[in-house]
């Protein structure tokens, strides 16, 4: 395999995509169970609240991810005693 390919492969981004996938699969399981097996309107209302909350929180995380500087240089400034960069 090309060494450049491994060096340039966006492992962080793939990991993030996997986490997002796991997050939405888990959300699907909860919504599916509430709607499929829940009896009466209460579980359906809860599934709607859960879905709206999950979507809003997901957007919040995405927004804060854009604003947060997660580079090692930036983190080393915050914790200079812990990280020498």
């Amino acid at each position: 395999m090309d060494a450049n390919f491994i060096q340039n492969f966006p492992f962080g981004l793939v990991l993030l995509a996997l986490l997002v996938l796991v997050y939405w699969i888990q959300a699907f399981f909860i919504i599916y169970h509430l709607i499929r097996f829940g009896i009466g309107p209460k579980p359906k209302i809860f599934s709607l609240i859960f879905f709206v909350g999950s979507a809003l929180l997901f957007m919040l995380v995405a927004g804060l991810y854009v604003n947060a500087d997660l580079s090692l240089g930036s983190i080393s400034k915050i914790f200079p005693d812990l990280i020498n960069y």
Partner: protein, 193 residues
């Protein structure tokens, strides 16, 4: 359009395998107090990082953006944990109809147990209230003994167990008076339609 939102409206309870002549008398969940401890623990977990940040954050310059980003990820996990607990609570149900009793227990996403008991097979019902809090809040276990050596049917930590016991006994007596020799009279009526 109105039909699209009908699942959120109050309705006669329907469930898989409900017969057309069957009426739901009770849909029972565990008492809300059973959830209370878990919700309290989650509420503490929700505010704990913010409290820590407010106390210690001022000593660490430039942490704000990273902290809120990490906290938002923590919130995602918290939100899922909360609804996982609520889902298990809402799917742990006991349905009492005028013909049978259905015990549906959810132990995790892929472990579901459903048991059914014809109302005619009830031998006796006992109620167990076993703590001071359960006594004050009026919740407890209701155990139904069936004929033979089958295990008991247990309604766990349900609210107003004595009232439910009375209503099951009333439904049992009504069923027995309508169904002489335990023959289902409604099947014939609905088969003829």
């Amino acid at each position: 359009m109105a039909d699209s939102f009908s699942i959120f409206k109050s309705s006669k309870y329907t469930f898989d395998g409900k017969k057309p002549y069957e009426n739901v008398i009770h849909l029972l969940y565990r008492h809300w107090f059973v959830l209370f401890g878990k919700i309290l623990a989650l509420a503490i977990l929700l505010v704990m990082p913010v409290a820590l940040y407010l106390n210690l954050g001022s000593y660490v310059y430039g942490l704000t953006n990273i902290f809120w980003f990490l906290y938002s990820i923590y919130l995602l996990i918290w939100w899922h944990s909360l609804f996982y607990i609520l889902t298990m609570y809402l799917l742990d149900t006991w349905i009492v109809t005028d013909h049978r009793i259905i015990d549906s227990e959810q132990h995790g996403f892929f472990h579901r147990m459903v048991a059914e008991l014809n109302i005619s097979r009830i031998q006796d019902i006992s109620v167990i209230v076993s703590s001071p809090i359960a006594t004050f809040l009026d919740y407890g276990n209701l155990e139904i003994q069936t004929a033979g050596t089958e295990p008991k049917f247990v309604f766990k930590q349900i609210p107003h167990p004595n009232k439910v016991k009375d209503e099951i006994m009333r439904a049992h007596n009504e069923y027995m008076s309508q169904h002489r020799d335990n023959i289902e009279i409604h099947e014939k009526q609905f088969a003829g339609i």
